[in-house]
Assembly symmetry: C2
């Protein structure tokens, strides 16, 4: 049956868009997880109509499909389906920016559009709009991240909340437009997210209910003024107070974007050589903080507005965080600092300043919606494997990576509790706990942590898998489920509840033969 | 079958909670629409478990149910089901405020909780939180409005966007908790809206897929400072420029709440006596604007923050709107104005000031999240029917009312086009066009208009129905569907599209016997 399907897909898509050779299969079977899966074939459609045709053939021959946007879902399953033998639809060739509406500050894009592509397009189209970027790097898909409810750093940082109007191919090959998209000639499809009648958009996040081929993405109007606010604390114990203060700044509307609070290990991860034994001891951490000018907890946030409102809000933020070291930065100040660093370099000085700039600059760029590769570099084991090829794909380095991202109320006590739950487990299995708390709404934080390991080391890989299992069990039991997971987590997050039963009934109603991504969040 | 069901419901709920007598049926059959429907019976459960029992019995005897929150959906169908013979579940006795979390600024409430009840509870619980209220009056349900995607005036003004965590009784009598609500002991249920896996919340807005019995509602942290900004224009033509400027203030984050722009007729509606012939002539409108100190277009908005950020943003807003008359107002200034008005009154003067205060004060209160009755009074035909009883229920006055609320991009040209499309139709049928444009997101506006008529006048009622039909046909054809509708609109908004087919398949999967609200948005 697969053979017939591949033949028919070839007729429709052309031979260069259908592959099932070993090289291709092996390439798409690569994973950062302890265990991956191998696809039966890979398809590269270019248009929504081709996706419809692919689905019709898949239903006829009962071949399961697994759509990916660009396959950059590192640490959350990469490009791998939950089971072997599914046919990957790689949507990277569907990379049109269908519309850019500068007055209304939105773009309509396909899943193949990368962060860099959208950013470049905005820059060359008047440069009056800023996208929101995640740390997944320039090559990652904007749509793919949105459908997993990723988040970034600007006022449009909650990606799903800043999505409006979706186009989806269902398992019956029909094309569903959400919101007002199904009303002929509707003007507000990409301005008003709800349409009329039930809201269906949520169904297509973290699920397997359809294949999204187009999404409206809200953009930031480039502000008259922007000021980054970085803060750091000297003691681990400051976390509780810090989170509570940041929540109040979020609730007051003084900080309108996702605020990130990283621990020392997050910032040090790429700066500690591989020879150092892990987990790092408290003494090592203290020493390394001093060497690299990093705090126990490190805040990255920004204020956007006019010069006067930014100055006024900046004062209030500084006042609220006055017990901590606070540095604020705008374009001019960063330029001056870089000049000074370069100048000092001529005299063999200024290494500290340049080190600080190297930490701060990528965060500063992200606060302006510019995708940077610094955070991808952080997860590469470059100390053992320098990226001379120039590749920034963790899969090229046998990088082992599992994200564990529990959600909690934005309260200091909960943040501390998460550390108390997770750090002993990470350490017991021999891993450090790098963590970034992101206040993704005014009331909630996601604790983004990761197990980093060397996939060429079997023992380490098994240890990582066991560590993940214990973390997930512990966090679910303690009432801190993750905001997102890879295949290893799909079973763990399912409860025997009406929620999942209803979702599964919806799956059966929309995809009775289970053609689209069986096993992905839903069966 | 109905008879048996009523008998069994009586056993479960008690006799005082099940009624099918003529007085009750007639009471719930009352409507502001040209045509209403009569229920077969009315039930008043008090707890979610009772709703489950009601559903079980309804399925057994195949009796359709029609849940309402408090039945205050005036102008959008009131308490009436789309068809005769459905059994109303009036949830007004489910009026518990289940939780108030002051630190995280949310409340968990049942559908019977009225705006006034929630407001009073917040005021007596520390008064550090402000709800968002709609103009539907103190007696309207908070949950009911949210499920219809209503909106208010504060930063939490987009009600569905400020909803987090829902409890729903499905047609199989199971209880579905959305977001993280189905994870035992989850802490972030009311802080993080998405949970993990597909998002189901949207399904239960404007639909018939379940009976919502509990909702988490986000509240505003009471700001250190708040300043209302009112602006008015002298010419009708100013609308285009005004809307474009307001959109930019929204996109810049300087105005963080829903901004309302009302025409003269909206503000004059309750100030013109019934003897005046309708529609008002341009000359009449000019004269009345002068008499009542009302502009062609009238903006109500506010800035929230600290004293310094409010001052800074206030300056920028004033500068942006400098071609118009702008008045800003805070608590102290309003108090002083009221004192001055009262003082002048002692000398028989100050009538103009007092008239202005009477227009501005209700809007000011709403900007602080206080539910007021002024906007309900506006739709009462009190010129012909003074409300001596004290009742504020339009149904007590044979008020005829149909809301027509098309959505457009937040662009001046679209706002003007909506007026050009609607005003001739309103006028041709002998009605005025009162309109409020609300910038409900940064990019979209809802144009809330209404046909007001006297239901005791058959000719006028038929005219209103015909006017509505033509408005809806015209708006749908022109690409401006409404954000919400009553039963008369349910058929008009349905397109023959995969959107509605998918929604209907979901309905069938969750409610195969069509027990819950058949005909409401979906069949």
């Amino acid at each position: 049956m697969l053979h017939e399907a591949i033949g028919q897909w070839g007729k429709i898509l052309g031979a260069d868009a259908v592959k099932s050779d070993d090289v291709t299969v092996d390439r798409y079977a690569r994973t950062t997880a302890p265990r991956g899966t191998a696809p039966a074939a890979v398809l590269w459609p270019q248009r929504t109509e081709q996706v419809q045709q692919i689905v019709r053939i898949a239903v006829r021959f009962r071949v399961p499909l697994y759509p990916i946007s660009r396959g950059r879902n590192w640490g959350y399953g990469d490009a791998c389906a939950p089971q072997d033998g599914q046919v990957i639809i790689d949507l990277r060739r569907m990379n049109r920016i269908v519309e850019l509406n500068r007055e209304l500050a939105y773009a309509v894009i396909e899943p193949g559009v990368s962060q860099q592509q959208l950013h470049d397009h905005l820059e060359s189209s008047g440069n009056d709009l800023w996208m929101d970027a995640t740390g997944a790097g320039p090559d990652a898909s904007v749509v793919g991240n949105t459908l997993e409810r990723g988040f970034g750093h600007t006022p449009c940082g909650d990606h799903f909340a800043n999505t409006c109007g979706m186009r989806i191919v269902l398992a019956d090959a029909s094309v569903l437009d959400t919101g007002f998209g199904h009303v002929p000639g509707a003007h507000a499809t990409y301005c008003y997210p709800y349409g009329i009648g039930p809201g269906l958009d949520g169904l297509f996040c973290q699920s397997n209910l359809g294949i999204v081929t187009r999404v409206g993405v809200w953009l930031n109007r480039r502000p008259q003024a922007m000021r980054a606010v970085f803060a750091s604390t000297s003691s681990d114990d400051d976390l509780v107070d810090l989170i509570d203060r940041l929540r109040e700044l979020r609730l007051a509307g003084l900080l309108r974007s996702a605020v990130h609070v990283a621990n020392d290990l997050r910032l040090l991860s790429s700066r500690v050589d591989a020879a150092t034994s892990r987990p790092l001891s408290p003494g090592d951490r203290q020493r390394l903080r001093k060497v690299h000018g990093v705090g126990a907890w490190n805040v990255s946030s920004a204020i956007y507005g006019t010069r006067t409102t930014v100055a006024a809000a900046g004062l209030q933020v500084k006042k609220t965080l006055r017990s901590y070291r606070v540095v604020s930065l705008n374009d001019a100040k960063l330029r001056r600092a870089k000049r000074a660093g370069a100048l000092l370099g001529l005299f063999g000085m200024g290494a500290n300043l340049r080190a600080l700039i190297s930490v701060v600059e990528p965060a500063f760029e992200m606060l302006k919606g510019r995708p940077v590769d610094a955070f991808v570099r952080d997860i590469l084991p470059h100390a053992t494997c320098p990226s001379e090829s120039g590749s920034l794909d963790p899969l090229d380095y046998h990088t082992g990576l599992i994200w564990v991202s529990p959600v909690a109320p934005a309260q200091g006590d909960h943040a501390r509790r998460l550390i108390q739950l997770m750090e002993p487990i990470y350490n017991r299995f021999g891993f450090d706990l790098p963590v970034t708390f992101t206040l993704v709404t005014e009331r909630a934080l996601s604790a983004v942590t990761n197990i980093s390991f060397n996939r060429r080391d079997c023992e380490q890989t098994e240890r990582a898998a066991a560590c993940y299992d214990e973390l997930m069990r512990t966090l679910m039991d303690a009432g801190y489920p993750p905001y997102r997971t890879g295949p290893a987590g799909f079973k763990r997050i399912r409860t025997d509840s009406p929620f999942w039963h209803a979702a599964q009934r919806i799956k059966h109603a929309l995809d009775p033969h289970g053609i689209i991504s069986p096993g992905r969040y839903l069966d």
